[in-house]
Point group: C3
Chain length 337, copies 3
Amino acid sequence: QNSPGTSVTVYGLIDGCLASADLGSERLNAVSSGCLYGSRLGFRGTEDLGGGLQAAFTLESGITIDNGQLAQGGRMFGRKALVSLSGPWGTVEAGRDYAPAFYLVQPIDPMALGIGTASSSLWTGAASTTSARNDNAVNYLSPTWGGVSLRLQATAGEGGSGGARKSQGLNLLYRSGGTLAGLSYARVGDVADDQHDSAFTLGVKQELGRFSVAALAQSGAWEASRTVAAPASTSSVFSRKYRSWLVGGSVRTGSVGKLSLSIKRYDDRTVRNFDFTQVSVNYVHALSKRTDLYAGWSRLGNNSRTSYTVSDATGAYGPVQAGASTSLLAAGIKHVF
Amino acid sequence: QNSPGTSVTVYGLIDGCLASADLGSERLNAVSSGCLYGSRLGFRGTEDLGGGLQAAFTLESGITIDNGQLAQGGRMFGRKALVSLSGPWGTVEAGRDYAPAFYLVQPIDPMALGIGTASSSLWTGAASTTSARNDNAVNYLSPTWGGVSLRLQATAGEGGSGGARKSQGLNLLYRSGGTLAGLSYARVGDVADDQHDSAFTLGVKQELGRFSVAALAQSGAWEASRTVAAPASTSSVFSRKYRSWLVGGSVRTGSVGKLSLSIKRYDDRTVRNFDFTQVSVNYVHALSKRTDLYAGWSRLGNNSRTSYTVSDATGAYGPVQAGASTSLLAAGIKHVF
Amino acid sequence: QNSPGTSVTVYGLIDGCLASADLGSERLNAVSSGCLYGSRLGFRGTEDLGGGLQAAFTLESGITIDNGQLAQGGRMFGRKALVSLSGPWGTVEAGRDYAPAFYLVQPIDPMALGIGTASSSLWTGAASTTSARNDNAVNYLSPTWGGVSLRLQATAGEGGSGGARKSQGLNLLYRSGGTLAGLSYARVGDVADDQHDSAFTLGVKQELGRFSVAALAQSGAWEASRTVAAPASTSSVFSRKYRSWLVGGSVRTGSVGKLSLSIKRYDDRTVRNFDFTQVSVNYVHALSKRTDLYAGWSRLGNNSRTSYTVSDATGAYGPVQAGASTSLLAAGIKHVF
């Protein structure tokens, strides 16, 4: 219906969980929010403008139900805030959104960016080191041509006398039957826009009956000013030169279960050699189309010099004692509305 | 309906009021929010999973309409953030919620935790001294057996290297006809979890035609590290040993009015003897099932050493000059949607 | 419908735009939110109480979609938070709202407080220098008598030992056919309430077929303590004595377009003579009743001593180099739901 005030859908996902993390010297037991998927509350709507045009908006809050707070550093609509205009030529969006690399990594990661998320070692392209999304973004999404689609994003530096980072990103995806394959590129400048962080990512997922197999590989270098400190930090993933890959897959068990596995390797290609390997597994049991019970486990091996942490969909469990291996066991309920 | 995006109810309560407080040396006149009940906006939904199972969620913001801000220290869903699974065996919830003691005190307090709230001298069990709710909570609610129900809560300390408080609480309630009776226990550890705040509470409310009578009694001791300073503070209720009680009742006047009264006594059982007595009265006039006009008054007598304040459902009116008695007069409108 | 939980309307407006500002020494290119109208999400409802009485509430968040954050300094419902009771005698509201002067200036400004907003040189009466609204407000809105209506507002200082500003405001509006005319008065005390900022405003708008013409004039003086620094600040509009006026108008172009123009002049009547003149133009193209595309431009001439900025509906584009003229070009989409 087109009259104001009747055209908004309220939707969301609430994920509550129990987590136990081995941090090396101690164990952290927690009631958490969003182990499998980040809890969220959203508002969205679309309007048919005629002539093949459509206007739409999305406002999506990330929340942590264990303390009733906003996620994404307290942003009200930290997950997404977009207005868009679509036509036969595609969609143009403005606002805050994930970088294009996210839209390649997320659907391929067997952990779906949950417990043992791929994003802890495969950069999803955000300009901020503490966020998965970009502010001040303009997106272009192409129509799908024979299964192929293109997504572009550019974000304004909005330097003025303050200064901030410009970024650009793209992905090219192919979807057909049980196949998803694609590549992405992400590039973020420093304040002066004369040095850049960048990464190139390839990914593929293939469904084979009850099974699916997945692989991701990324080659990148963080050379903008924010990473000056990285060689000295034992807990910072991504460095002046790195490679990262993931292999894994899923199997549907019975009519309502799904078991997934991923193995990740991060290869720091600088002299610091701050590498790690991580193994993750989860099981999701559907109570309905909207509600799942789940459990997952992930273990990351630190070498004597590193103190990387294990992350779930919402946060990292740390700090980890340097040189200690760390693991996370979590179980919970995910309810979509 | 079970499809995502159609299963959420938006609800709330808006309470706006005028308040005038005698603080001893001066009078504070204010436009306030939530004198009788805290203003709020919530989102909730349930899903029937079949086989007697039900999933549900609640996200409830506390707000102060006088300045458009969030209550509960700026938390987005500071009142409640819960996901739950229910079955014939009861309900398990995870998230942020009141401690069990609240669910005994709130329905018995003739002031309903409004102007002259019982909670200012009857601890409702929260781990934080500045909040009525607990983060990182898991609740268990039993089915009702012959009018009797049990509520348990445990909250994770989530110490890690940061440290926080573990807490446990329970209540046992009996409801039948016009009778509500129950007991509760609350226990909160300090960071090291080697000293504890605790309180035991008894309460009863009986309806007798147009009248209802109510009584609450609590015995407690705050011995965890947060209360080290308490003996020196003239404005902190709850001490290393205290007893507190309330008596009161209500009478329905005509078809739409209700007049309520409570008398509270706080008895500090330490050498500091920081006691007080408080008298509160309110009148609520229903314009409809959803909308009330109300007025209330409460007076608290400080002795020469104390500077306790009078609270309504949303905040305390202070600071009060030491040794002065203080009173609050407030009137407003409460609208439920 | 009168049962709780079914009586709330979710509404809003999302405005996303590209902006380019000439700040004198540099150009700022930005993806912004709310160039034409501030982006917002609101919740409102009404209840018919019978006997000509009606209860209502409004909770309206201001948001910036370019970063997913709350506007109005992070207030949850920073645009409006009101509960009201209406009868044949008018409406009484309590909460947070615009001052009465806003309700005169906003509908007359040809820029509708968007790109080149009138509010940058015509004070809309708020007690805060950084906000357009007042906290702790009680409003009275009269019924309309032969096209004439009255709005009164008083806000509580809520001094206590903290201290804040009391304010009073009113407007008197006449609406009939294509005519809107009115006057407003605003007055804000300093903390001690012994000095006052005040302004008197006159305005008129007349529709003439496809055309409308508009004029606003204000005479004011900021004499409360907050303006002690003003004579020394080259970027602060409003001074110890000032006059300000605006003339402009609109023309509907074709069936879906509207072109608007305004010329503003701010005349600082003190020895500092920090005057400016500003020219603004915008074009709004309706894609539907709910969705518009728009573009606007505004230029403000600073003299050698001033560094005033150009504002749109959400923010100011600065800082501007002293003595430089500054301009803003912006284009975007506005979607109402």
